[in-house]
Symmetry: C2
Subunit: 375 residues, 2 copies
């Protein structure tokens, strides 16, 4: 019932153990063989065997020994995060953000270009080209050195990297982003909705690091959601999970109107409310009420451990989080933890990086990655 344990070959066992070793090495600066053995549950002898093989394949390198401590000093090994590079791109209404990261997911170089929501398809894609080019150049790389790319954008995305529907950006429906980015870096390209990627990022490096189930709320000029269920990004059958905003009864459509009605610029409303402006405070209260309605639906449906609020408005957490928590309390059977995003406007691009890394790791596990050829 519960999936396919499948079983298999002896080599499969080695693959699993090799991956386990890589995981524990990724979690630390560097480790000795004894530590690797203890953390993986392998015997010391086997750990040595696995590490030797990974060393030969280029996934692991020897690190400088640390002084101090009695006894023969242990050799230390580290994951070679620098063995490969992945590309992450966030294509939004107001900015295009491209980053190059190593295999640990640490950002090596980033390039940010301002764009406007009104820009057409060609202009926006051209900005993507420039951001990626600048980013690769800054990292001293060519596109050929990229192992995998992740791309985040607004709207519904299909399984092979095309935008199925985007209401926020003009001429954006139908763009084949995978093909476009593959021209810049000839490697697998994974495209995903921006809210979903932000959820992935918060679960990876943000405030939801150990949550099994969590709901990410994108609170900004648009309102959206991304779901992590059982530690994995939940996409749904047609990649449309989390689109609770389609239901008028739950108010995500009108939510943002309260803010723009109160003031010209939405961002200012929060500042005004904080300063004591009565009208602004009312607008914010109404906004939160509507936001909470849709959020409650998601929370009641999934009963997640945590709700993370991100997007442009999360900077105004002080006037947002506490009221939101109170509103959720009104509707939910069990109100989950409510936290502000830790990653700000880099959440989406970090999620894109994580998506690319997942692809790389999957290929490692399958033994299909010819690492040597990349060195």
């Amino acid at each position: 019932m519960t999936g396919e344990p499948a079983g298999g070959d002896l080599s499969r066992l080695r693959q699993l153990n090799a991956l386990a070793v890589i995981r524990v090495l990724q979690g630390q600066e560097s480790l000795t063989l004894t530590e690797v053995a203890r953390r993986t549950g392998l015997s010391r002898a086997s750990a040595e065997d696995v590490v030797r093989e990974l060393l030969r394949m280029g996934w692991v390198a020897e690190a400088g020994a640390t002084a101090g401590g009695v006894g023969r000093p242990a050799r230390r090994y580290r994951f070679r995060a620098d063995a490969g590079r992945v590309l992450g791109v966030d294509i939004g209404g107001h900015k295009v953000l491209a980053v190059v990261a190593d295999l640990d997911g640490d950002v090596l170089h980033s390039a940010r270009l301002p764009v406007t929501p009104e820009m057409g398809r060609l202009e926006r894609l051209e900005a993507v080209d420039r951001a990626v080019a600048e980013c690769l150049e800054g990292a001293g790389m060519s596109g050929g050195e990229v192992w995998a790319s992740g791309v985040g954008t607004t709207g519904l995305v299909d399984g092979v990297g095309k935008v199925l529907l985007s209401e926020a950006l003009p001429e954006w429906t139908g763009v084949d982003l995978a093909a476009h980015v593959r021209r810049l870096a000839p490697a697998p390209v994974l495209v995903e909705n921006d809210s979903k990627l932000a959820a992935l990022a918060e679960r990876w490096r943000g405030v939801a690091r150990y949550a099994k189930d969590m709901v990410f709320l994108l609170a900004g000029l648009r309102t959206g959601a991304g779901l992590v269920i059982d530690g994995k990004l939940h996409r749904g059958f047609a990649n449309a999970a989390g689109e609770i905003g389609a239901l008028p009864a739950l108010g995500w459509i009108r939510a943002q109107e309260h803010l723009s009605a109160a003031s010209g610029e939405a961002g200012d409303v929060f500042a005004a409310a904080r300063a004591g402006d009565r009208a602004a405070a009312t607008a914010v209260r109404r906004y939160v009420k509507d936001l909470a309605l849709g959020a409650s639906a998601l929370v009641l449906a999934l009963d997640p451990q945590m709700v993370v609020v991100g997007g442009g408005f999360s900077r105004s957490a002080d006037v947002l989080i506490e009221p939101l928590r109170r509103e959720l309390d009104r509707w939910c059977i069990r109100t989950p933890e409510v936290r502000m995003s830790a990653l700000g406007d880099e959440a989406v691009v970090l999620g894109a990086v994580r998506l690319a890394l997942d692809d790389v790791e999957e290929r490692v596990l399958d033994g299909r990655t010819p690492l040597v050829s990349h060195l």
Copy 2:
């Protein structure tokens, strides 16, 4: 990121392969070694080895050879579904249903007792005792032969088998069902909400057999939901997933009122509507509208492949399914398949059986099941 592949020992590999062999044998009446090898991907020699061990442990038995066909006739092996027994119990407002099933999940004996929603705790528990006793007796068993029990009931259930909250049944909050059933059959007892179990059953043996993600709607005197995500029952952090009815904006609370307002007995309204009664038709239409609102929230949140409608009203599928599909179409971005339950009022008890079987299988996998002692 994606869970723990963990890796491990050689014996772990054997466990996985043994489980794979059991799985393919469970799927068929009986198989030859060559067939087992082909279906598991193992070599013939290894398949033989594994089967021999399973034979020794009592999980597998030799089946009669089938005549016909050229060449030396192959020995045939079958999973020994009769090696163990599990108990499933459904404790509802109107009935208590207990079944004994074998390890294939085939029901060997069942006992059904009528109860009333008004009954108090003691009276209802006493009905459980009688149903279970009758069922065990009918199967010619003692409680000691049960390997695991699954129990389904209305309301929220905690992780160890206590009812946390039940509004539908009097004096039901706080009952320790796990302890109660363990007295009748001293084996692990798993307790779960009835909607969730019905979902599990539909995914196992019902109309959602191959759906990765699905939503089960309980449409009856109560309204509820159960979620299967990525092939597994989704429980949530506090076992409260699917409780979308708590949100007044989505109308599940008032849904049923339309029906009772139109007539004394809810079941009759559907019949009247079918017969052309205008008032009844209006009541049904309003009911479906409200039902669909909450269902849409679940569908939009999860984007499942399928929605399965069960519960008492699913007998009136002809006046329910098509309108529901139309209403979902109004709200959802992508309307999933909508199907009627195939299991009727046995869905919950079958889900309970599945829950018990999952527990047994998990123990097989861990090698913690001392099968021999049960023989």
